[in-house]
């Protein structure tokens, strides 16, 4: 096919196009066959996770000189979009590792810290995660109460983080704690004295990734593990939330894309009243509206991703992308289930799993209400107050 002009939005370069093909092949060959089983068990497939390291996907946004692929936010969106078509839960574990830890860590670490951590997290030998949310502070993130106090050369952390993806398997975590009231980022290894994780927290969807609490009880963290300046944590957090939200939005697009594909095929094959059910106007509405919503979300997410990077800030774009795309994944999964009737509700087809997974995108990485709050604040500053 001659290249359509719109393809430039989704595959800006030959590398992006090859990346998409590679991830799509990997997802169909290796990710899809294990997805239902890991959803049922509620476990992360660690050997498959390491395959992401073999393929070079764990350091997608890290410069080549430091062992990564040196690609941009559009590339990160491509990976999340293609993987989430088959296994959003596994994709969430990938996101927590490569976006929440690796990308964030890279931009606030020094050369010594990079040389200590990057080889292990880029290969997948170590699984990593990020701890921001606490039992008493989610949306109200500045209300966090985990503290870090200087102790000789090192630090002592106290507090609890919760709902932390990759908590059960993780070898190291990027953790935000307050030093005299100022948010500061640390990297904490599993074997730091006084650190432990809770039992696995069971959940509705995204079951192919795990979640636990991170518990710090007089936890001793070496002085060399502070990331950036003391008190600079909020800047790192806000910068990283942009790529986090955009890639979460891309997962919703992946779910919606797959659900459109499944329901269009099913509606042609399934007969009722001696005709394909796609002859019924009510079914046509699910197919057509579902497709249009998916396309709109896809265009918004890819367009926003073009303006996200370590040196550009785009909070308005990333909040808007996730605010719009998250309900689309959920809605289109619901349409697909409705088109399929009983079959959609049963585990023989992936739709019920995608439907359960989709809901998370309206909560994790910021609730839709949080995006509405942020957007109103930013737009008011931008437009109403000159």
């Amino acid at each position: 096919m001659e290249r359509l002009a719109s393809d430039l939005l989704f595959n800006p370069t030959e590398e992006h196009r090859m990346l998409r093909q590679m991830v799509a092949d990997f997802a169909a060959r290796e990710v899809e066959p294990q997805a239902a089983a890991h959803d049922a068990k509620g476990e992360l497939n660690v050997p498959l996770f390491r395959r992401l390291g073999d393929l070079g996907l764990l350091g997608i946004t890290i410069p080549e000189a430091d062992g990564g692929a040196g690609m941009d936010a559009v590339a990160a969106v491509i990976v999340h979009h293609e993987l989430a078509k088959y296994d959003p839960g596994f994709t969430l574990a990938y996101l927590a590792h490569s976006m929440l830890f690796v990308n964030n860590f890279y931009h606030c670490s020094n050369a010594e810290q990079r040389s200590r951590y990057l080889p292990r997290v880029l290969s997948g030998e170590w699984v990593a995660g990020m701890g921001m949310t606490e039992p008493g502070a989610g949306t109200d993130v500045l209300g966090m109460t985990t503290t870090a106090v200087r102790d000789g050369d090192g630090w002592v952390l106290n507090g609890t983080k919760t709902y932390i993806t990759n908590g059960c398997e993780g070898h190291c975590f990027l953790v935000y704690a307050k030093v005299e009231g100022r948010i500061t980022a640390f990297v904490v290894d599993r074997d730091c004295p006084g650190f432990r994780t809770s039992n696995h927290i069971d959940k509705l969807g995204m079951r192919a990734s795990t979640m636990s609490e991170l518990i710090f009880e007089d936890c001793k963290v070496p002085g060399a593990n502070v990331l950036g300046e003391v008190g600079s944590g909020l800047t790192h957090m806000m910068r990283n939330l942009e790529i986090e939200r955009t890639t979460l939005a891309a997962m919703s697009v992946g779910i919606a894309d797959r659900c459109v594909d499944i329901m269009v095929r099913y509606a042609e094959e399934r007969h009722a009243f001696r005709q394909s059910i796609n002859r019924f106007g009510q079914i046509q509405r699910y197919l057509a509206d579902g497709f249009a919503m998916t396309e709109a979300a896809k265009c918004l997410v890819y367009n926003v991703a073009r303006d996200i990077g370590p040196d550009v800030r785009n909070r308005v774009g990333s909040d808007a992308a996730k605010l719009f795309a998250a309900p689309v994944g959920k809605q289109v999964a619901d349409y697909a289930m409705q088109v399929m009737g009983g079959a959609g509700y049963c585990k023989e087809f992936p739709v019920e799993r995608l439907w359960r997974d989709a809901k998370l995108l309206e909560i994790g990485g910021g609730t839709i209400e949080a995006h509405q709050k942020n957007l109103t604040k930013d737009l008011t500053a931008l437009l109403a107050r000159g």
Binding site: M1, E14, Q21, M22, R29, L55, G56, I60, A69, M71
Partner: protein, 272 residues
């Protein structure tokens, strides 16, 4: 050792065919590498690399014949791990099998290659002639439809297992040579190079390009040649007279009983 591997772009065989104006309409086709060529590059890479080490035992060169601008499939093979590429810039519609074979043979000679690995056929027209013709033009030994390959580095020879109708034929071919590969060549233990541990099991199928391979691919050298550089005159003795869809099947008959079926099979269809 130099291994030459051919790649052909074909319309995705998983897509349904469209007919227009007495021929096939490819205007909306997605183009993919011929799957047997993917098996060929996988074979070449398994021969060239030493699993667990960094040493390379062979240089792998990918050859594509077609317009210079349509090099996506060649780039994909570079991303999988080939060392460099050669494009013979020509319009594939104006080349017949004999000319394509001459071009490949000319590149093989120009490069002084030791081994050509090609797919056993291309999935679009299923000609299945090119590797055999190239071997003939070069006057070198050939083993077609290889299911296993073992490289004896010291003896400069390959032992090739070929699946034939009555079993597996084992051939020993001294290099330089031509090998065409079949599907089973990408099973986990089909290719042995004498340096990678013989117990090593590859993942089945052609490998995925790693992200590192993808970002490196653009930096690998690709030479563009014209058929005239190779002393080959472009032309074709093949002519497509027409392409048409097979006639649609007539609707079948529904029968109520086994007796009725038996009756129809004996009296109407006369097959029993």
């Amino acid at each position: 050792m130099k291994i030459l591997v051919c790649v052909k772009r074909i319309p995705d065989p998983d897509e349904s065919l469209k007919f227009a104006g007495g021929g096939l309409d490819y205007s909306a086709s997605k183009w993919v590498p011929n799957a047997f060529d993917e098996y060929a590059i996988e074979t070449a890479l398994r021969l060239a690399e030493v699993v667990g080490g960094t040493q390379r035992l062979a240089e792998v060169i990918v050859l594509g014949i077609g317009p210079e601008s349509q090099r996506q499939q060649l780039t994909q093979f570079l991303a999988m791990g080939a060392d460099r590429g050669i494009i013979v810039d020509a319009d594939p519609d104006k080349l017949d099998t004999a000319t394509v074979s001459k071009l490949i043979a000319a590149v093989f000679k120009k490069e002084a290659a030791d081994l050509l690995i090609a797919g056993k056929l291309s999935q679009d027209n299923e000609g299945g002639q090119v590797p055999q013709r190239v071997a003939g033009l070069l006057d070198v030994p050939q083993a077609s439809f290889a299911a296993t390959v073992e490289w004896d580095q010291a003896a400069k020879a390959l032992t090739v297992g070929r699946e034939v109708d009555d079993g597996v034929e084992v051939k020993r071919v001294p290099l330089p040579a031509v090998v065409s590969v079949d599907l089973r060549i990408v099973l986990p233990k089909s290719v042995k190079n004498g340096s990678t541990p013989a117990t090593h099991a590859y993942q089945e199928g052609p490998r995925l390009a790693s992200l590192k391979g993808i970002t490196m691919a653009k930096r690998k050298p690709v030479a563009v040649l014209k058929p005239s550089d190779l002393g080959v005159a472009v032309g074709t003795n093949e002519q497509v007279v027409g392409v048409a869809a097979p006639p649609a099947r007539k609707a079948g008959q529904k029968v109520k009983t086994v007796e009725e079926l038996f009756e129809k099979l004996t009296k109407e269809a006369k097959v029993i």
